[in-house]
């Protein structure tokens, strides 16, 4: 048993670090750190995306022939880990990680030629139309109707929680093409242009004052019929592929550990003037320091869990059942970490800015520190980690059935 990377992987790690040292500028880091919602804003991601595209390190989960870098699972892990530690912005994963691989796998040569380069160049910005109002995590309850009329589809209905739909020019959506057959079977996977009169986007502002998600309405929206991915009725299969593709190797722990390191640094600087009598700085508060210690132990164990999955993938074996726990574990850890940050900052942790962005010249003045200013919106937005992408409750039912056989 060992937990060490092979020499060639260590060399790659060095290369990644050098690249990040060189290319990840202060503006990008500030933009990444200054986003209290899940996705970094497009002004930041576009710049970072261009840098990665130039290096050929952008579409890391695509086949080489479609523009991927041909990395091993270990290389992917190392790249993500180093990006997380360096504080790189998140990327527009809806195009790169979700619809991209779907087009690579199910798309026709024409679809590939048409869409993939524009995902890489950033010309197309994608959003996802899965959930519908009133259906939450129950994806099979799709009601949005796409009717074939000549050489196009006419789409009517609505989607909710469409992240960054207000930035996107394309949406990939689960739509019902055949209402006569059973639930899952009538669903198709359709690409729809956003810039048309039939599509409207209505913001849903979070309790943290962030506008990240939307409701998206289709009112006789149109899309050419060759924007259907796969066959009619194949939508559920494609959605499952997408989900499983997402569930391969993961690299969530390093970002959590990096955040804990930052919190520890803040705790060393944050004066303790509380009634708790600890004096000095907050790192000496037994409650803050023990919460930090417990979360670190949890996150470090979780890092090994991710490495155990990686070790299987690296050997070409299917990932173990632990994979099912990754989303559950990381989202709960994240929420506890975000809550600790708020608690660390005392009254300063209670400020909640109403304008965005929280980086660059437009950012509002902070009280205490930028980290304090970011703590409350991050905590509030982070309550969604256990809701979106299948709530904790839905995840547990799936794991109970599929992994535990209950």
């Amino acid at each position: 048993m060992d937990m060490d990377f092979a020499p060639e992987d260590l060399a790659f790690q060095k290369e990644v670090r050098a690249f990040l040292d060189d290319k990840l500028n202060a503006r990008l880091r500030e933009g990444a750190a200054g986003t209290p919602s899940v996705f970094t804003e497009p002004d930041i991601t576009r710049e970072w995306q261009a840098i990665l595209a130039e290096k050929g390190w952008l579409a890391t989960s695509w086949p080489v022939e479609d523009g991927g870098p041909g990395w091993t699972p270990t290389q992917k892990y190392i790249f993500e880990k180093e990006c997380a530690i360096a504080g790189a912005p998140s990327l527009p994963i809806l195009g790169l990680r979700l619809v991209g691989p779907v087009i690579c796998h199910f798309g026709t040569p024409e679809q590939k030629a048409r869409f993939l380069p524009r995902i890489i160049s950033g010309e197309d910005y994608w959003c996802q139309g899965y959930s519908e109002p009133g259906a939450g995590s129950d994806l099979a309850a799709v009601k949005t109707r796409a009717e074939r009329v000549g050489d196009k589809y006419v789409v009517n209905g609505s989607k909710i929680w469409t992240t960054h739909a207000h930035h996107a020019n394309w949406i990939f959506a689960l739509v019902r093409t055949d209402p006569s057959v059973q639930k899952q079977r009538g669903i198709s996977f359709l690409l729809i242009p956003m810039e048309q009169p039939g599509v409207s986007v209505s913001p849903i502002v979070t309790m943290a004052n962030d506008h990240e998600v939307n409701a998206t309405f289709f009112d006789n929206a149109e899309t050419p019929a060759d924007n259907l991915i796969g066959e009619e009725g194949q939508g559920w299969t494609i959605a499952k592929f997408l989900l499983e593709n997402e569930r391969g190797g993961s690299c969530a722990a390093p970002a959590l550990l990096a955040k804990l390191d930052r919190i520890e640094r803040w705790a060393r600087e944050e004066a303790s003037g509380s009634g708790s009598g600890s004096g000095g700085t907050m790192i000496h508060d037994p409650n803050i320091s023990q919460r930090l210690a417990r979360l670190r132990l949890e996150a470090q164990a979780f890092e090994v869990t991710e490495l155990r999955i990686l070790a299987e993938l690296a050997k070409g074996r299917p990932a173990g059942p632990q994979t099912s726990l990754v989303k559950l574990t990381s989202s709960n850890l994240r929420q506890q970490i975000d809550e600790l940050a708020v608690d660390l900052f005392g009254y300063e942790g209670l400020q909640l800015p109403v304008t965005r962005p929280l980086y660059g010249n437009e950012a509002p003045e902070y009280v205490g520190s930028r980290a304090a200013q970011l703590s409350m919106p991050a905590y509030l937005n982070g309550r969604a980690y256990t809701i979106f992408g299948g709530s904790d409750e839905v995840q547990k039912t799936i794991i109970a059935k599929q992994v535990l056989g209950l």
């Binding site: 979070t206 309790m207 509380s274 009634g275």
Partner: protein
């Protein structure tokens, strides 16, 4: 032994409910968007109902409400998700300004007063250090002055010959610099810097005792919010369908709601105890209430799913107000630790 509200308390509760009825999210947002985050007309209405004067002594032209009366109001305001900072700008000044010439107009809702007690870098410390009074002039900086963006006068804790004393400062004076900033519950706080500002005082109020009372009322308000979140979530689970049945048919959600119910009952009892046993440790009880109320808030958001996250619903507002109150005059972790150490 009697846990029923008395006649007056029923009247106060009804007054709050009437006052808040029809205040939907849009009204809430509109009030918060005003400069300083407070709708002064509504504030005056609140005052006219006697709800500010309730906190002032009868000698001071108030109604001399008991702890029970005040807690009923706080809990009802929490339950109604009122947007008005009654605790911060109503109760606290009415108590702190006892005997002061400002009190009458504060009780009448004409003058808005804010309490400036927190200092940068000193966490929850109640003793003033950075703000000093010398020769009748106040200098230094306060932060987290709730309602500070709208205030006409500030009640300020200041270091005065090594002790902490209370002074009143005109908020509009040239020597007072007010920088408002938004806080978690949607309200507006301020950083207030005094540059040798003229100070009236010291006031005669017992600062420590008033803070203890404020903790009790913060706890009562949290209980009101938690009860509301419980009721709203229960209703949601009964009506909202998913996977072909009401959410409330799922056993895990049923059991979760029983846990929520148990905690809501527990904190209601905790506040009753704080009310009825004068020697009860207020900060610790508030901490106990806060920890449970935060958990209830988290569950309410979670069980509402995506909609629970949005600014449209009261759920998030409830959670945010709870979080703010949980840290007012000390957070749960510090308060439990202090209580444990004092044992």
């Amino acid at each position: 032994m009697n846990f029923d509200l008395d006649e007056n308390q029923e009247l106060f509760k009804a007054a709050v409910e009437r006052f808040c009825s029809g205040q939907d999210m849009a009204a809430r947002r509109a009030a918060r968007a005003l400069p300083g985050g407070i709708d002064r007309a509504r504030w005056q209405e609140l005052a006219e109902l006697g709800l500010i004067g309730l906190a002032a002594g009868e000698d001071d032209g108030g109604m001399g409400g008991s702890h029970g009366d005040l807690a009923v109001v706080a809990q009802a305001l929490g339950h109604a998700q009122a947007v008005e900072p009654w605790l911060e700008c109503g109760f606290l000044p009415a108590r702190l300004l006892a005997g002061s010439a400002h009190l009458e107009s504060v009780i009448a809702g004409e003058k808005l007063a804010a309490f400036a007690f927190a200092e940068p870098g000193r966490r929850f410390a109640v003793e003033a250090q950075g703000v000093k009074v010398r020769g009748g002039k106040l200098s230094g900086t306060k932060q987290f002055v709730l309602g500070g963006g709208a205030a006409d006068v500030f009640v300020v804790t200041a270091e005065d010959g090594g002790k902490t004393a209370l002074y009143v400062v005109d908020a509009k004076a040239a020597e007072v610099e007010v920088r408002p900033y938004p806080v978690a519950d949607g309200g507006v706080a301020a950083i207030v810097t005094f540059h040798d500002a003229a100070a009236q005082g010291p006031l005669s109020a017992d600062l420590g005792a008033v803070i203890e009372e404020a903790r009790l009322l913060a706890a009562a308000e949290m209980v009101g919010i938690a009860q509301r979140l419980f009721a709203d979530t229960l209703e949601y689970l009964k009506t909202r369908e998913q996977f072909g049945q009401p959410l409330g048919r799922f056993q895990v959600l049923q059991h979760r709601m029983v846990d929520v119910y148990a905690r809501v009952e527990s904190i209601q009892s905790a506040v009753l105890r704080a009310l009825l046993q004068p020697e009860a440790p207020m900060a610790a009880i508030k901490a106990h209430v806060a920890e449970n109320a935060i958990w209830v808030g988290h569950q309410a958001v979670q069980l509402h799913g995506g909609m629970g996250m949005s600014d449209e619903l009261g759920v998030g507002h409830g959670l945010k107000r709870i979080v703010l109150l949980s840290k007012l005059f000390g957070d749960p972790a510090s308060d439990i630790l202090d209580y444990a150490r004092a044992a």
